[in-house]
């Protein structure tokens, strides 16, 4: 089995563009203010947490493939480039073969909604410019084009836990030698249809948008290493066996935790984590619900804390409003606890 190290992190969130903005807002532990989004046919608006404009217009927006792209693509590329850092040039030169796994639940929903509205009015005049952007893999395709990367590229569609499945896919590619490095991205964009739909299930939930990215390689970095130690099975959290049982099975596959470890959860208060001995953060409570992007922020927060030596290991638990319970564990390999060191 080959080892998998996190070599870069990226985040675009309602807190701003970049991992430092995410770190700062999570440290403050106060939910971000909510903005209003108009909903056609209603006097009232819907609550959202949107990504603020970047302080400086990103240069990637000048790329021909990105000018007309959806907001989700812009967020994904922003997070990806931050995670890749200086390796962007290695990839463009062909010296680094990069696999891309993009994860999303709603995809380019704003263009999908807009295109279908046009098609309902008159399908003969619906915009042919919009339709291609509605395809789930458009963001991953634009990113590959920007990086001039022709290697394997998957878009996984599913709930927040899909981001962790994406990490497992990437780990498999690295182990098989398909690619020398892999980028896993979770991205979502704002649209009133999503906020409207979320409200049907929980009126307290605030829809958010943005992206998060992890850059993975089999080789450790020269500085502080963050290693992907484990990803649990994905346990169905549907009617049978039920969410509580799925979460219990998921937790049973991970070490019990220690006081110097971090837990990144969707929401606090899940009984299965009630005995967690260390610090707990819940990015979704602060930033809002952004499905695959939320899961990516949880992972970014976990890895960032390890990298900055604020914890020796971190568990990420995804059990939110999704369809499955799944968890991941990241560690500083220099601080492996006895339990992990002796595990087979």
């Amino acid at each position: 089995m080959s080892r998998v190290f996190v070599r870069g992190l990226g985040a675009v969130s309602p807190a701003g563009w970049g991992v430092p903005a995410l770190r700062d807002i999570l440290d403050k532990e106060r939910p971000l203010p909510v903005q209003s989004l108009a909903r056609p046919g209603w006097d009232k608006s819907l609550p959202v947490r949107a990504v603020p404009p970047p302080p400086v217009r990103p240069s990637f927006l000048a790329h021909p493939r990105l000018r007309r792209a959806s907001p989700m693509t812009h967020y994904a590329v922003g997070a990806a480039l931050e995670a890749l850092g200086q390796d962007v040039e290695l990839i463009r030169s062909g010296a680094q073969k990069l696999g891309i796994v993009a994860c999303t639940l709603t995809g380019g929903i704003s263009y999908s909604r807009r295109f279908y509205e046009e098609a309902l009015q008159n399908p003969a005049t619906a915009s042919p410019m919009i339709f291609p952007e509605t395809v789930f893999n458009s963001s991953a395709s634009h990113l590959a084009a920007y990086l001039d990367s022709s290697s394997v590229n998957y878009t996984l569609v599913g709930d927040a836990g899909t981001f962790l499945q994406g990490l497992a896919v990437a780990a498999g590619w690295l182990e098989s030698g398909f690619v020398g490095a892999c980028l896993v991205i979770g991205a979502e964009e704002p649209d009133w249809t999503v906020s409207d739909a979320l409200r049907l299930f929980d009126s307290r939930t605030v829809h958010a948008s943005g992206a998060g990215a992890l850059y993975l390689k089999s080789q450790p970095p020269s500085s502080t290493a963050v290693e992907l130690a484990a990803i649990s099975d994905a346990f169905a959290a549907t009617r049978i066996p039920g969410r509580a049982e799925a979460t219990r099975k998921m937790r049973a596959q991970l070490p019990i935790g220690s006081p110097d470890e971090l837990l990144c959860v969707c929401e606090r208060g899940d009984a299965v984590w009630s005995d967690w001995p260390g610090r707990v953060v819940a990015p979704r409570e602060i930033l809002g619900e952004a499905f695959a992007a939320s899961a990516a922020w949880q992972c970014v927060a976990a890895c960032d804390a390890i990298e900055h030596r604020r914890c020796s290991a971190a568990n990420v638990s995804i059990t939110g409003a999704g369809l499955q319970a799944i968890a991941a564990r990241f560690v500083n390999p220099n601080f492996l606890n006895t339990q992990e060191a002796t595990s087979p």
Partner: protein
């Protein structure tokens, strides 16, 4: 654990991956037999669209499936069954056939790896229509949201068959089905799973139909891949599901083996979001990668099931790729596109064409394009035009999609 993945055996070398079950539903009908007969004879299954209003569209035909009134035996509740729309029903038909054939039980976890472009878009369309037209009416909206989600169709199939295990949904446009099978193949080959249920599905829906129509890539008449006068693709719908299994496991339990998957290649064409690079460079790379993983050379490939959408650009690009890849072998290489019979099934295309390739290998015949009128003079390979028996040992199937998603799979006849 998904990572580090436990190994089902201690064998260090790659595992051979065989197909022990295959289910299929297309406009030819439901099941292996009727589809094999359709592909073998070169039947076409296009007709005027009845599922939604196309009166204001340029194109008015597609390959619609006559969905049987009843569903195959399953474990879903009455409530779940009521909410199943077209895509989920197509998937269930194909999944049930594959599951029944392979003879697996649901005791051990069986991962489900599926490809689709739009999942249950009918629910999404209904949701938006109601939200726009009667914004204060929420009846059925929560259920539509739940069943619109792409993951839900896989969960429905798992629940219907009594499966438990990871559900992965790959949405790589028209290569989704092939990518799903390729990913599942890699899971078994690498020893991460002993068995995987995999495939693709997509149902015709208004949004997608209107989308392709606005791009002016739909033909007004049935599609004719690789024809000099081709003028666009024709959409279809359906599903195909394959039961992939480690060969040792399959032989140990005496399972009937339908064929073997020996190679997979996946690349990304960065040329344009919807148009392939004219020389087919990324497509060529996918075919070469598939051959490399299979340990075969083009001279060992007996048939190519082409992506062959019948758009001028796609077929020209694929023609260039096949000819570069095959070299001198191109002159005698049989090639056809089964889209000439059942249309372009988008996320299901790669899976349906995988099953068509297995049928050809198993039956020792070549699927013809009987609607071909005048072969494109640029094609130096042999386009199969009439039903013919042939000695086939290996077949390669191409799937190329929007976003430059390219995938090639190689199948081998099981002795």
């Amino acid at each position: 654990m998904l990572f580090p993945a436990p190994r089902f055996s201690n064998v260090a070398k790659s595992h051979r991956v065989v197909v022990t079950g295959a289910g299929i539903i297309t406009a030819f009908g439901a099941g292996w037999k009727v589809n094999a007969a359709g592909f073998r004879s070169g039947r076409t299954a296009f007709r005027p669209v009845t599922l939604f209003d196309v009166s204001r569209q340029r194109c008015k035909i597609a390959a619609e499936v006559d969905l049987p009134d009843n569903l195959p035996p399953n474990r879903l509740s009455c409530g779940d069954l009521r909410r199943l729309q077209r895509a989920a029903r197509l998937l269930l038909w194909a999944g049930h056939e594959a599951w029944s054939q392979c003879g697996w039980t649901g005791e051990d976890p069986v991962p489900l790896v599926l490809g689709t472009t739009s999942g249950e878009m009918c629910h999404g369309q209904d949701y938006l229509r109601q939200a726009l037209r009667t914004p204060r009416c929420f009846k059925h909206q929560a259920s539509r949201v739940t069943h619109y989600l792409v993951q839900q169709q896989g969960i429905n199939l798992a629940n219907a068959l009594g499966l438990h295990g990871e559900v992965v949904n790959i949405s790589n446009a028209c290569a989704s089905g092939a990518n799903a099978i390729g990913h599942a193949w890699e899971m078994v080959r690498a020893g991460r799973s002993e068995r995987v249920l995999t495939g693709g599905y997509d149902a015709l829906c208004h949004l997608t139909f209107a989308g392709f129509d606005t791009l002016q890539v739909l033909a007004a008449t049935p599609c004719r891949p690789f024809d000099a006068g081709r003028n666009g693709l024709t959409l279809g719908e359906g599903a195909a599901v394959l039961a992939l299994e480690d060969s040792v496991s399959a032989q140990k339990r005496g399972a009937e083996i339908l064929g073997e998957i020996i190679g997979y290649g996946a690349t990304t064409d960065t040329h344009h979001l919807t148009q392939p690079q004219p020389e087919g460079i990324a497509a060529l790379a996918a075919m070469r990668a598939a051959c490399a993983s299979a340990g075969v050379v083009p001279e060992q490939i007996d048939y190519v099931n082409a992506h062959g959408t019948a758009t001028p650009q796609n077929d020209a690009s694929e023609t260039a790729a096949i000819q570069s890849w095959a070299g001198a072998r191109a002159a005698t290489l049989p090639v056809s596109s089964t889209k000439a019979g059942v249309g372009h099934l988008l996320g299901a295309a790669g899976a349906v064409e995988a099953v068509a390739s297995l049928m050809a290998l198993r039956g020792q015949w070549l699927p013809p394009e009987t609607s071909l009128e005048s072969p494109d003079p640029l094609c130096r390979f042999q386009i199969v035009r009439q039903p013919v028996d042939a000695k086939l040992n290996t077949a390669l199937s191409n799937s190329f999609g929007f976003g430059g998603a390219n995938a090639s799979l190689i199948f081998r006849r099981w002795p």
